[in-house]
């Protein structure tokens, strides 16, 4: 697999670090001092889609930037890559 880093361009899988479901990661609940079901499910529950999956990758072996990769988990085909926050 190769990922098209928004800054460095197309690079090998080995240069990247996986950080899991992006939509999930971006929905961090409001900081709190008490536990809540929102926090519980944010920390532990995943949609784990079969098919298109928006996921967070970091180019640790390059620019160290974070990107959201839309990838088909059934075929491994990468549909799009966007810089986080863009």
């Amino acid at each position: 697999m190769r990922i098209n880093c928004p800054y460095c361009g197309l690079r090998d899988l080995a240069e990247f670090t996986y950080h899991g479901d992006a939509d999930h990661a971006l929905e961090r609940p409001e900081p709190a001092q008490e536990n809540s079901s929102a926090w519980n499910s944010w920390v532990y529950d995943r949609s784990n889609n079969a098919g298109q999956h928006r996921e967070l990758w970091q180019h640790t072996g390059g620019c160290r930037g974070f990107m959201i990769v839309t990838r088909d988990t059934v075929t491994h085909e990468i549909i799009s890559v966007e810089k986080v926050g863009s």
Partner: protein, 186 residues
């Protein structure tokens, strides 16, 4: 306020290369007697990282000195290599509060490869398309978890910037990769 740049000085004459005693100088031809590549360490020069705030990237880019090896290896993040001492301070003055300057002169080692076959040798170690890499350009990549920055000075000259603590191990790997070309250590 502590003056962190005080530590970047390498002009004390007490600085020791991480390759000291590990990189035997001399010629190591291949079995046909050829020497196709020259290796050397660019030691005791200034290496800095400059990082701009997102909204200051353009301003910093224009503010950066042109005379040095300067390349943006990550978005709004530059490596600046210079023979000039105290370069960190100079950069700090140039960019002010548009970003940060981190002096890494002690934290990195720079190896220079010279020769027609640099591409062949580097391709053994890095998954980079060197045929397409422009001269006077640089990038960040990795070799089995050893992060590296690579600068192409000209058609047949490359600088590889690696973490100091990995220098000895990487040197060993690099010379192995050069063996079939034959190499000389300057």
């Amino acid at each position: 306020m502590l003056d962190v740049f005080a530590f970047s000085s390498i002009a004390t004459g007490k600085a020791k290369s991480p390759l000291l005693g590990r990189a035997a100088k001399g010629s190591f031809p291949n079995s046909n007697g050829n020497v196709g590549i020259t290796l050397s360490e660019r030691f005791a020069i200034s290496i800095c990282e400059v990082v701009a705030w997102p909204d200051q990237a353009v301003a910093v880019r224009t503010a950066l000195p042109k005379d040095d090896v300067t390349f943006e290896f990550a978005s709004a993040r530059w490596a600046v290599v210079s023979e000039r001492h105290g370069n960190a301070r100079r950069l700090r003055d140039k960019i002010g509060d548009k970003g940060s300057v981190i002096d890494l002169s002690h934290g990195r080692a720079i190896l220079r490869l010279k020769g027609e076959d640099c591409g062949w040798v580097l391709s053994k170690l890095f998954a980079i398309d060197f045929e397409k890499m422009a001269t006077k350009s640089g990038l960040a990549t990795t070799h089995h978890g050893i992060t590296a920055q690579i600068w192409r000075e000209d058609e047949s000259t490359f600088d590889v910037i690696i973490f100091r603590s990995f220098a000895a191990a990487f040197w060993h790997t690099l010379t192995r990769a050069c063996a079939d070309i034959g190499y000389e250590v300057k």
